[in-house]
């Protein structure tokens, strides 16, 4: 699909340059330049709700940075988990007159006004990750993300396939809408019994003891659905310690997790391809600026769920190794 988009951009530029110039050679040169990420240098800012040091957002940034390198974009990044502070960061980029803003709408109410301000200042806004339902309403041109509920449903189906009957869904951040939606989605398609369990994500020994405690309290549990790679690996250790045969599955990935899938310690991972969210968002702003394109034609573009299990773990491993999957 991306190739098609680039081809369209290329064709568009060819057409444009053909109109404005008479020389064939010049048109060819310009087209080549555009393909290689040419065009005037622009400045794009990304503001997310990430906590410092979050592995997931690190991958999003890597995607955005590699698209920026290709598109001749100066990439700026800032993040704050607090909705109000995130809005202030967006405001600072509006003040700087950047050429495009990428923002997450994890707390849509806090960001509504500032997104409107950006639109009023004629700065195109792209939303990623969370906020699919508000994106267009707020005036953003496109949205790239995973529908958490759909991803949860995919996980539920995978758990059925793995033969799990009674599972727990580990929520590692209390009050996070996206995480709740994943568990709720899984509950929808999972044919067995699924309960939520809260674990303290910032404290691995506590994650481990909470999971062990749960497995000890209910010997009938034969499945664990984690929502983060590190939590999944810890849950797998806890299951081993508790002498439980519970199968562990997860959302999101890292290098160690892919190894664990290969070893069979983890059944599967639901990957929302964060790299793609960063990459596509920058590309979209570049395409919009240079060719007026809107990927998805105003509809949210899903970047996941992509299921990684034993069958394709080898293919994904090298990318996870360098931290882009």
């Amino acid at each position: 699909m991306k190739r098609k988009v680039i081809a369209t951009a290329l064709a568009g530029l060819l057409a444009l340059s053909a109109c404005s110039s008479s020389g064939g050679k010049k048109a060819d040169d310009q087209a080549t330049k555009a393909l290689g990420g040419g065009g005037p240098r622009i400045k794009i800012a990304m503001v997310t709700h990430s906590a410092p040091g979050d592995a997931f957002w690190d991958i999003v940034q890597k995607g955005a940075k590699s698209a920026s390198a290709k598109d001749n974009v100066q990439f700026l990044y800032a993040a704050d988990p607090d909705g109000g502070k995130q809005a202030q960061l967006v405001q600072t980029y509006i003040d700087q007159h950047v050429d495009g803003i990428i923002v997450t709408l994890a707390k849509p109410d806090a960001l509504k006004d500032v997104v409107a301000k950006a639109v009023a200042a004629k700065i195109p806004v792209v939303t990623i990750n969370s906020g699919a339902e508000d994106s267009a309403k707020f005036g953003a041109i496109a949205h790239f993300g995973q529908d958490e509920s759909i991803a949860g449903q995919a996980a539920g189906e995978q758990l059925n396939k793995a033969g799990v009957k009674k599972a727990v869904c580990l929520i590692h951040e209390q009050g996070n809408v996206g995480l709740e939606a994943r568990c709720a989605g899984a509950k929808k398609t999972f044919s067995g019994d699924l309960q939520n369990l809260f674990v303290q994500g910032a404290n691995m020994p506590q994650v481990k003891s909470a999971v062990t405690a749960k497995l000890q309290a209910d010997k009938g549990i034969d499945g664990i659905l984690a929502l983060n790679a590190q939590v999944a690996l810890t849950a797998s250790d806890a299951a081993k310690d508790a002498g439980s045969k519970a199968k562990v599955a997860t959302f999101d990935m890292n290098k160690d997790l892919v190894t664990a899938i290969k070893d069979g310690r983890i059944q599967f991972a639901v990957d929302q391809q964060p790299y793609l969210q960063g990459y596509e968002a920058v590309d979209e702003l570049w395409l919009y600026k240079n060719n007026g394109d809107v990927i998805g034609g105003g509809q949210p573009v899903l970047t996941g769920p992509a299921i990684v299990d034993k069958s394709n773990a080898d293919t994904v491993a090298p990318y996870a190794d360098r931290g882009t999957r």
Binding site: Q174, A210, A213, Q230, D237
Partner: protein, 348 residues
């Protein structure tokens, strides 16, 4: 003659018994002990799985993971100071050990040793800044807390290009280090993590230090009143710096547990845990103003924490209410603590 001796004898016995009882009531950890017993009975009644031996081992592991830090934090609080950087310092220590070993392809023990030196230096720096500036330790360690959190993330990304360190599981020395810091062993068919033993050892050392050595008197003295302590010749500067270094020592130890138990370290972890350590110490009878408290109390505080956080899971309560239950339990334990101590003091 037997007639004259017989009547006073029971009176003496009563007197002796009561004074021992009073003495017990006067201990800082008595309230926490009562709270712990109440909680234990409570969870035994509401959660079927709570009384199993394997469950007890899980609760102990959870308690130990808080308790190791609570030991040194309680000593520091008895000495009248706080350390808000304790939570992230654990992560710093694990990151240092992991990255030195991995990036320079050293035996992991080299990383462990380097980390010990650097982490102790961090504690020394906290102490030095405190004694040199005279600013409250709250402010000093708040500053170092943010600096460490930033350094953890900044260095990890700069060096590994990721926010977590690569796994060091396959490196030389890993299995020995794991045996020391994170091994599980079986006692009567139940798996127990070695941190539980280390925790008991640390509590024993700290209790001996507090109650049987001159340094212990110094800690109480500097926490009670630093100026009067200085007036009677207590080395206040040295004591305070040593207390901060005590915290950094346990931060190193606990950091090594995290590294060797979970193999890789997330650079953003540890934020907020400093409050849990302080809570354990306070529940265990340490006063926020210093000069009063005990290491055993902090251990009981950590045990209360472990029972509460896992008891909620054993009782299979709705996780949405987790933090409420945790807060309510801690508050209840602290109130019991307070009531018992007031009674004891009134009875003196």
């Amino acid at each position: 003659m037997s007639q004259t001796i017989a009547p006073p004898a029971p009176a003496d016995e009563r007197l002796a018994a009561r004074s021992a009882f009073r003495k017990l009531l006067g201990r800082p950890e008595i309230g926490a002990l009562v709270g712990a017993i109440v909680l234990f009975v409570f969870f035994s009644l509401v959660a079927d799985a709570f009384l199993r031996a394997s469950s007890f081992s899980t609760v102990l592991y959870s308690s130990a993971s808080m308790g190791i830090m609570a030991v040194s934090v309680s000593l520091l609080m008895i000495g009248g100071e706080f350390d808000l950087s304790a939570g992230v310092m654990v992560t710093s220590s694990a990151l240092i050990a992991s990255m030195f070993s991995y990036q320079l392809t050293l035996n992991v023990w080299a990383g462990v040793a380097i980390s010990l030196v650097v982490t102790l230096a961090l504690g020394f720096l906290n102490g030095l800044l405190y004694v040199k500036t005279g600013l409250p330790s709250f402010i000093i360690t708040l500053g170092t807390f943010f600096m460490l959190a930033g350094l953890n993330l900044g260095f990890t990304k700069l060096i590994t290009h990721n926010v977590a360190t690569p796994s060091i599981e396959d490196m030389d020395g890993f299995s020995q280090a794991r045996a020391v810091f994170a091994r599980n062993f079986t006692v009567g068919g139940v798996q127990v993590n070695i941190t539980v033993l280390w925790w008991i050892v640390f509590v024993a050392i700290a209790t001996w230090l507090l109650l049987r050595t001159r340094s212990g008197n110094w800690i109480f003295a500097v926490g009670g009143s630093a100026s009067s302590a200085r007036a009677v010749g207590v080395p206040v500067t040295r004591t305070k710096i040593a207390l901060f270094m005590g915290v950094s020592f346990t931060a190193w130890f606990y950091g090594m547990h995290i590294l060797f138990n979970f193999k890789s370290v997330q650079s953003g972890e540890g934020v907020g845990n400093e409050f849990f350590y302080i809570i354990c110490a306070v529940v265990g009878g340490c006063l926020l103003t210093g000069g009063y408290g005990s290491a055993i109390g902090a251990a009981i505080g950590a045990f209360i924490w472990g029972m509460t956080s896992n008891g909620i899971v054993y009782a299979e309560w709705n996780p949405d209410w987790f933090k409420f239950f945790l807060g309510a339990m801690l508050l209840a334990a602290t109130v019991v603590n307070l009531v018992v101590r007031r009674r004891a003091e009134a009875g003196k």
